[in-house]
């Protein structure tokens, strides 16, 4: 104990170097924690967080009984599942196809194509909202312009909730396929070249190489990414949902309202701080338990990759 203390004092410069970050996370991440008390009161500004009347689990009870909590959880989880499944399939496919491209001309094509696919990752959520508006709005949208030219009826996308699961998943794939395939492409590059050569000598064709060498070698990367994605399944991408659907578009809530958008509305539109905090706390706790579970699993199958 004494030795350790002495050692810390000896290395105090290193501790000082961490102090800005320690203070920063204390202020922005730890100091707001007591604020979760909001979830257990009926908040009013006059009395403040800790002076407002205590209502116990009343806010949670309301959220459960009204069915809102279930809808929000369902939407958030199902969207994430759809993202994980379609995203990984597409990313792996793209990475494998790129890997098979050899030769001078194809290499140039590959480079250009990869750069284009990666580009959407750099675009802000607001601009993605503009893209959606350009494509989908009923008066001047690109898709409706084509429908008109073909003599078909126009579609008012922003008022048909049933279409949005597809639109949102497509937008997600649009933004993340290039980004995600980089990880898988790097994993393929890391495969031992001797294995590839051996398969060559044994007369394996490209399909067999993919089926028996590349796919099995991608499995660990896939499993790890999958598990951590499952750990984050309660978290939604606020920017994407909010901007795509056209900012608080009530007509679409049925299929597009996720936990993040609900909490945001309780803060900015309904001013129901307590209800929003209750949903936020529910999300934090379940999210925490999920990550813990996932980490335990990862530590069992692949200790090197566990987070802690």
């Amino acid at each position: 104990m004494r030795g350790k203390m002495k050692n810390i004092i000896k290395k105090r410069t290193l501790l000082f170097m961490c102090i800005p970050a320690i203070v920063y996370f204390f202020i922005f991440s730890y100091l707001p924690l007591p604020g979760v008390w909001l979830a257990f009161v009926r908040f009013n500004y006059r009395d403040g967080i800790f002076g407002s009347p205590f209502v116990g689990f009343e806010n949670f009870r309301f959220l459960v009984l009204s069915g809102q909590l279930w809808t929000l959880t369902r939407n958030t989880v199902l969207y994430n599942l759809a993202f994980i499944i379609t995203g990984n399939i597409l990313q792996i496919t793209v990475a494998i196809l790129f890997n098979e491209m050899a030769g001078r001309k194809l290499s140039i094509y590959k480079k250009v194509s990869q750069s284009i696919m990666f580009l959407p990752y750099f675009i802000s959520a607001v601009v993605i909202g503009v893209f959606a508006y350009n494509l989908l709005n009923v008066r001047t949208g690109f898709i409706n312009a084509i429908l008109k030219q073909l003599g078909r009826d126009t579609v008012n996308f922003y008022s048909i909730p049933g279409l949005w699961p597809f639109i949102i998943v497509l937008a997600y794939l649009w933004q993340t396929t290039g980004y995600g395939s980089i990880v898988y492409f790097a994993a393929i590059m890391g495969i031992d070249s001797e294995m590839m050569e051996a398969s060559e000598i044994d007369g394996a064709n490209a399909f067999q190489r993919i089926r028996y060498i590349i796919l099995p070698c991608l499995k660990p990367t896939f499993v790890i990414l999958l598990l951590f994605a499952l750990g984050g399944i309660m978290k939604g991408n606020f920017g994407l949902f909010y901007n795509l659907t056209g900012a608080n578009n009530m007509a679409l809530f049925e299929t597009t309202d996720i936990i993040e958008t609900f909490v945001f509305r309780s803060l900015n539109v309904n001013f129901n701080f307590s209800m929003g905090s209750a949903v936020g706390l529910y999300q934090s706790i379940f999210g925490f338990l999920l990550v813990m579970t996932v980490n335990t699993i990862v530590r069992k199958i692949e200790p090197d990759y566990s987070l802690f």
Partner: protein
């Protein structure tokens, strides 16, 4: 596992030798290549399509948009949207200045603190490295949620309507600190050790020896920071009310899209009658103006992001 894979991966440099020496590509591979070019070609076109659409729309005459809708190639070219925006450029230039300033300051300060922390945390001889690492990492596992955070920033820190409410929340993230830590690990500890023997202090070693050798790491983490500042709109929307005249660029764009009055205001300032405002093309032109710098910088910075993703992806 993937630390040895560098940016060449995406540049198309093939790490495997055998493909280079291979003379004949067999039928099955040729088949997959054809499928691959078609498939990735379609995806690439879909990826670039929205960009072309908004650029095209921004240069299209308003009447043509109202009549025929947005199109891939302008039916009638017009610079009206841009002319109108720059006729009264105070708003747009002000927003640019705010965003550029915020990006510069935030990236510089954030990068310094992140690298300083990352360096200390990867030093094997620092006894508190695990405790502090966990302290930082824990914030990603459990958070109070948006509303307690909002109360904290507005009530305790009193930062409502202050640019600091936008600048500070993005200054650093656990993910970037871990990324930096992983980067700096690859610099041999012996460099630090020998400098210590020569009598250099830890901060001096960091400043004079580590920082100059860690330029790729600084570039990567710095660019991630810069991108998040450039694209920031969320905290701006939460914390900056209409009292703030010059909004960050993305919020300015957000308002332009969602609230027509922003366009009317700017038209009124230039004495344009309300009927003649090229509303749709102005929305698109604003989006082009807000995204332009990223597109221009993209070819030069792409490889640093790839580096960051391959190093930080699995151990995020």
């Amino acid at each position: 596992m993937q630390n040895n894979v560098n940016a060449d991966v995406l540049a198309g440099v093939d790490a495997r030798k055998y493909q280079g020496s291979q003379k004949v590509i067999d039928k099955s591979q040729r088949f997959i290549q054809v499928i691959g070019v078609i498939f990735t070609g379609i995806i690439s076109m879909l990826c670039i399509l929205p960009f072309i659409l908004i650029i095209s729309a921004s240069f299209t005459e308003e009447r043509s948009i109202t009549l025929y809708g947005f199109s891939l190639i302008p039916r009638a070219v017009s610079l009206n949207a841009y002319r109108l925006i720059f006729m009264n450029p105070k708003q747009v230039l002000g927003s640019y200045a705010v965003t550029v300033g915020m990006t510069a300051v935030g990236t510089a300060v954030g990068l310094f603190i992140i690298s300083m922390t990352g360096y200390a945390l990867q030093r094997p001889d620092f006894p508190l490295r695990n405790v502090i690492s966990f302290y930082i990492y824990f914030t990603t596992l459990f958070s109070g949620g948006l509303i307690p955070f909002y109360m904290m920033v507005t009530q305790t820190l009193k930062l409502k309507d202050s640019y600091f409410a936008v600048l500070l929340p993005l200054l650093m993230s656990p993910w970037l600190i871990i990324l930096m830590k992983n980067f700096l690990k690859s610099i041999p500890h012996s460099i630090t050790e020998s400098a210590t023997i020569d009598g250099a202090g830890d901060f001096y070693i960091f400043l004079k020896i580590i920082l100059p050798t860690a330029k790729p790491a600084l570039a990567t983490v710095g660019l991630f920071l810069a991108l998040s500042y450039w694209n920031e709109w969320y905290n701006s929307m939460l914390f900056l009310s209409s009292k703030v005249i010059y909004k960050p660029l993305q919020l300015f764009l957000y308002n332009t899209i969602n609230e027509a009055r922003y366009i009317r205001d700017s038209a009124a300032a230039s004495n344009i009658p309300a009927v003649d405002i090229p509303m749709e093309s102005m929305k698109m032109a604003t989006a082009v103006i807000a995204t332009g710098p990223i597109i221009f910088a993209y070819p030069f910075v792409q490889k640093y992001f790839i580096q960051g993703i391959t190093i930080g992806a699995v151990k995020g």
